[in-house]
Symmetry: C2
Subunit: 180 residues, 2 copies
DNA sequence: CCGAACATGTAACCTGTTACATGATTAC
DNA sequence: GTAATCATGTAACAGGTTACATGTTCGG
């Protein structure tokens, strides 16, 4: 993905924050954090995480010290430069406020183009999917660390707004069944 | 990026909708639509759009007929299969309701980890960026076709919610200046 | 001792990015 | 005629995906 002012990709920034703020201090734990994260975001594939960490080590942002005491694996921590780069990434206003690739936004104006039967079907399926996601988010909220909890809270607000949008679409759909 | 149930990437779906719903019926116009779109989403690079269209033609979803009358270029339209694939993509509930890679969400829990000076700075910059984007979105709303207008309306809601989030963060920040 | 979980990595592939190259048409 | 815009593409590269390969440690 494109590198922005902070010089980090979104994945690299996320990796740094996993190590520094969420205390996942081995490559494996970082990877598992992505895999088990309540959101899809990235698959947490080995082919993405390990190369990303290697790049960050080579760039001098991560310090990697092999664990000697029985355990295998390497302990990762951010260097001074790493912390600075992470903060730049966190604060980058252009990046932070861009819409990214929002799949809902892309489709927001397109449901109205469907014929009424298909549209009703789609809206029902979408509302159900959002509803299930909302239920999952609210029930798992307590088990999360502060960082992930904040993300979940944001997701709840987002999905609630999506649900509202879908209900508005349904209402408009009922008012004007088929615009042709 | 990953292909989902509809078999289309997000870019491919967006390309089909540009052709079918927004009447950008040459490769060049599709490309320009991405480039001049109020959102970043994709760069609309030639190296992405032309290959994507070629793939869609080869898959039998787009019909490409060279323009004979003076003009150069090819006229693009969706085949029967193309319309079906587009509708599947539009209605795919898993895709449509995923958070995608939301840069705001990724950072939502991280501003609180900054020291109070840096945090105040960051929040100010972010609120300004969101404010400017909101101003731009509201003033350009009238010039847009229905599809893009719906997207803009969604973006306005999203950015408004982001602004609210940032103001809440600022308030909490003021209440507890430095948590160490 | 054996299977599950821990741990690390590579190889082939796909798609998007930048940067470059090329030519046709139109407005002046 | 010439500059801007229209129009199409390719080449090198970056970074993410799946799938595979390999070895370690620990609980039973």
């Amino acid at each position: 993905m494109t590198r922005h002012s902070s010089g980090l990709t979104e994945l690299e920034g996320a990796v740094l924050s996993e190590i520094h703020h969420r205390l996942n201090r081995t490559a494996f734990k970082v990877r598992r954090a992505f895999q088990t994260s309540p959101s899809i975001e990235w698959s947490g594939s080995a082919g993405a995480v390990y190369p990303a960490i290697r790049r960050l080590v080579e760039a001098g942002l991560i310090e990697s010290t092999p664990i000697t005491t029985g355990k295998k694996g390497s302990h990762l921590s951010l260097t001074h430069d790493g912390v600075a780069a992470l903060e730049d990434w966190i604060c980058d206003p252009v990046r932070a406020t861009s819409v990214g690739v929002d799949p809902f936004r892309l489709r927001a104006g397109l449901w109205a183009t469907l014929d009424s039967a298909r549209r009703a079907d789609a809206l029902l399926g979408l509302k159900q999917a959002v509803g299930e996601e909302l239920a999952r988010l609210t029930t798992t909220l307590d088990d999360l660390d502060p960082v992930e909890r904040a993300r979940s809270r944001w997701s709840i607000q987002l999905q609630t707004m999506r649900l509202q949008w879908l209900e508005d679409q349904t209402a408009q759909s009922d008012a004007a069944p088929d615009s042709k």
